[in-house]
Amino acid sequence: MPEIIYQFYGGVHPPQAKISSQDAIVSAPLLERYVIPLQMHIGAPARLLVQKGNKVLRGQMLADASAFVSAPIHAPTSGLIKEVTTCLGVLGTQLPAVILESDGEDTPAEPLAPIPNWQDSAPADLLRRIGDAGIVGMGGAAFPTVIKLSPPPEKKIDTLIINGVECEPCLTADHRLMLESPDKIIAGMQICARILGVKRILLGIEKNKSDAVDLMRNKTQDTSIQVCALDVRYPQGAEKQLIYTLTKRKVPTGGLPMDIGCVVQNVASVYAIAEAVIDGTPLYQRITTVTGTPLQSPGNWRFRVGTPYAEAIRLAGGVTEDPVKIISGGPMMGVAVYSLDIPITKNTSGILLMSGAEVSQYQSKSCIRCGRCNDTCPMQLMPGILSVQIENESFDLAESWHVMDCMECGCCSYICPAGRPLVQHMRRAKADVTALHQAAKAAKAAKEAREAKEAAKEAKNSPASAPGKK
């Protein structure tokens, strides 16, 4: 099949700064203490299964999925549950968490039964395994994978897209993973394809990772997997943009990829799927890039979840100068944090330190309407005009200008010559519009309930007013 690559609208070319792309993945040493948040995924926090003082083994389930959109959490090592408490999350809020004190033995729990002959297993069994292993989207959003892989029967899926784009500058974890464990990734892709029953598998990799493209092409020669080398442009790896680039299909507004027959999985997620299915290892570790110019020796490590950021920085040799920003994730969509006590979770793709020279502060000057945000917005919105509306708190106006379609990729803020924090405006508007909708819905429900009550009262009153009742 000839390789056809389409061009998505907009996008920017930030500096790549992938300084750790040649550093092989190193397994981080065992720590004495892990802080494991019970919410490492989108959806409801997991339901705790252990108590203070319990002994747990590596890979033992600490908390189980508590709702449809939720995922279980497993112990990263063996040891004692020291405390059930809260810990600081990347968003600056307190999350429920358990503190696990390692016993140094790292004794594995009874593993989930490996399924080496997955080619013959029923898709339902494979799905259940993925759910039990607590696998979530490891690209950043941390949406439970099992939901993505079980589309409702009326949605006909014909294409599985694997996201090896890693378009975020600085991050190299997925790149290294593809170079070092291509076979596991390919197995993972085939497991996903078997679950979904699709024949067409596309693996998208940006051209700046030509070694990974060549290796994956080599390894997939006699499979149905098609490796596509994509132009380097941010946000090539955004789900909707990647689907468009590879298939020319557009995810409808408010819709999901499955609406147009596609499922997208990150390479780190399919790797975790392969580990869970073939080896029976649940998801309690991940590859994270620790990078940035202030660091002594940036690199890629395999961390167990619950490792505090401080430990990651210590492994990277500490710093040569004090950073001005510490970011969880990449520089375009990552979250600035202020504490090194925050633990690495299932979706921490990178820890980035920025020096004072690299950090430019938001000025929040007036918009000069240059229209560059408009040209770069991959969702074809008008961020400049929206931000002025949002500054005036005209949220319904902003909604009619499609603010809810914003995916917060950051292209507009990156390009803005006036240094306006456009993404922050969008994020605020999205939160407030959602809140307004919820309030309106609640008000409507309350009104209906009141009317129903009144109607019932009237119905009760009319027989009461009939003669002879009182």
Binding site: L88, V90, L91, G92, T93, Q94, V335, A336, V337, Y338, S339, Q361, Y362, S364, P421, Q424, H425, R427, R428, A431, D432
Partner: protein, 274 residues
């Protein structure tokens, strides 16, 4: 001459057209409604529970709502409306907003410099505002901007404070505050617990010098049932408020009168009878 004729006839025609439009499409307004609407404060704060003053006036005239729901209306106007509509109004306890945080820059520490939009609701999206106490006031003035009566001030040390003499208790700020720090309390209550953090006393103390550290001294000093503990946070029973003297029992000053403005002014309980 021609010009004069043309102008005159245009004027006459336009006048006729307006008269006809008014005659056939004009909306008859209810004089009673207009009178009632004129007595509403016109700030459209929504404190009555309706979309604005006009909507509330409409509801009063149609008998759906009673006069006296409006927190900003003077006693006189409530009486006038009640007389106009021939109904009795409700007993009203004057309420004011209080910001349950005393953690200004002198008291509370910040973990990082926040760089972004100067609004609490925006700052919430960035590390929750980066204050050490994740429950504390960010002092970026979302409530002050939302207040239709200008009753909230942001001090130079980045803390929002309510001026009770200006506050009418409409509750706009309560909805706006992203940290959910603002409560509506009876204006007569002399003391408030100006802390909202449910954390342990030690943790709170590290983050803020003015936190309620859960020492329970006030509970002992107050009368039976006037103050109770909710976890590590003292809670005032506004139905039976403690007297102002026991503020001295609080080692951190978290238990205090409203920290803005002068002494509480205005009538304590407005009882309105028509």
């Amino acid at each position: 001459m021609q010009a004069v004729v043309i102008l005159l006839s245009t004027g006459v025609l336009a006048g006729l057209a307006i008269a006809l439009v008014v005659k056939f499409f004009g909306v008859q307004s209810d004089p009673l409604l207009e009178e009632v609407a004129a007595l509403t404060p016109g700030a459209n704060c929504g404190g009555c529970g309706y979309a604005g003053c006009a909507a509330y006036a409409d509801a009063m005239v149609s008998g759906e709502a009673k006069p006296g729901l409006c927190p900003a209306m003077s006693e006189d106007n409530v009486k006038k409306i009640s007389a106009l509509l021939g109904v009795t109004s409700e007993v009203r306890v004057r309420k004011v907003a209080v910001i349950c945080c005393r953690g200004d820059d002198d008291m509370a520490t910040r973990q990082a410099f926040y760089n972004g939009i100067n609004n609490c609701r925006d700052a919430m999206q960035v590390a929750a505002g980066a204050k050490t106490c994740t429950y504390g006031c960010l002092g970026l003035g979302a409530c002050a901007r939302a207040c239709p009566y200008g009753a909230i001030e942001i001090t130079s040390k980045r803390l929002a404070v309510v001026h009770p003499e200006l506050c009418v208790g409409c509750g706009k700020c309560v909805q706006t505050c992203p940290k959910k720090l603002i409560k509506l309390v009876p204006a007569s209550a002399p003391l408030h617990v100006l802390c909202s953090s449910p954390e342990k006393g030690v943790t709170k103390r590290k983050a803020c010098k003015a936190a309620c550290i859960g020492c329970q001294k006030c509970v002992k000093a107050a009368g039976e049932g006037q103050i109770r503990m909710n976890g590590f946070l003292a809670v005032i029973n506004y139905g039976d408020p403690p007297s102002a003297e026991i503020a001295s029992s609080c080692p951190t000053g978290a238990l205090s009168a409203s920290i803005a403005g002068t002494e509480q002014s205005g009538p304590e309980n407005e009882v309105i009878n028509a």
